[in-house]
């Protein structure tokens, strides 16, 4: 993929994350949601994750954050490594870690 596409994905996901993460964090404020301590209790979390809206929100947030984060890490590593063969190896490593974390993060949402 062209580097300019990758940067465009960064911008789009970055803008999406700003909105999604405000929704996520507003659940832990006492102004909008149940508050920080109450919002983390087992009952509240189970109740919240039973609704399809929050399943959707957290799926999107997980995907957006991991993609945005790992593209950023990739950009920083590629500043140090210019050898094409090493870059391919690093790319594969990042892909594997990314997919493992994505699946591990998705498991509690699905179950």
């Amino acid at each position: 993929m062209k580097e300019s596409y990758i940067r465009f994905i960064q911008y789009v996901l970055g803008a999406a994350i700003v909105i999604l993460i405000l929704l996520h964090l507003s659940l832990f404020t006492s102004f909008i949601g149940p508050g920080y301590e109450e919002g983390l209790s087992w009952e509240t979390v189970s109740q919240r994750m039973a609704s399809p809206f929050y399943d959707m929100l957290y799926t999107l947030l997980l995907f957006a954050l991991l993609t945005h984060g790992f593209i950023g890490i990739r950009n920083i590593i590629f500043e140090y490594v210019t050898n094409q063969r090493t870059r391919v190896i690093i790319s594969w490593t990042i892909w594997i870690v990314y997919i493992i974390l994505l699946i591990y993060g998705m498991l509690p949402i699905i179950s």
Partner: protein, 155 residues
């Protein structure tokens, strides 16, 4: 000529300033400081994200595992750390909005002819006021975070 071949032909160490290059060219330049902070907070947030996924995924093993994993992080010292993570997150967010706006040319005014003395567009009113707005929004959000954490441990 392919990228790798061209890279090899004109290989120059001059532009590869390494880690020092993050802070090596600050020169009292506001955007360079923001760039450095954006990068450092970005790396920190990725590390936090991995930890966050590992902790919150304990939910799938049932209530016991969830309670155990949350009792580890349920102390004031972890919440002081959380405050710094939130500060980094808020900075990364508002600065990211600034980067998107600058990238697509908002706030920068109409383009002018490149006549000497050149207009330094990032030092014009639009981008500078946006940085001010950024600081105000960030401070308000951070105050809310601080209030919520104090609500748990102090009040």
């Amino acid at each position: 000529m392919g990228f790798a071949k061209r890279e090899k032909k004109y290989k120059s160490k001059y532009n590869m300033t390494g880690t020092l290059g993050w802070i090596g060219n600050l020169r009292m330049n506001m955007e360079r400081y923001l760039y450095f902070l954006h990068r450092v907070t970005g790396i920190g947030l990725v590390l936090y994200l991995i930890l966050h996924i590992l902790v919150t995924s304990s939910r799938m093993y049932g209530e016991g595992a969830y309670e155990i994993s949350h009792s580890i992080i349920n102390n004031p010292i972890a919440d002081i750390g959380l405050f710094f993570v939130m500060a980094g997150l808020i900075f990364h967010g508002v600065n990211g909005i600034r980067l998107i706006l600058n990238e697509y040319g908002f706030l920068l005014g109409k383009p002018t002819k490149p006549v000497y003395p050149y207009r330094q567009v990032l030092k014009t009113r639009g981008p500078r006021y946006f940085i001010l707005l950024m600081i105000i929004i960030g401070a308000i959000l951070l105050l809310i975070v601080g209030y919520e954490l104090l609500l748990v441990w102090v009040f």
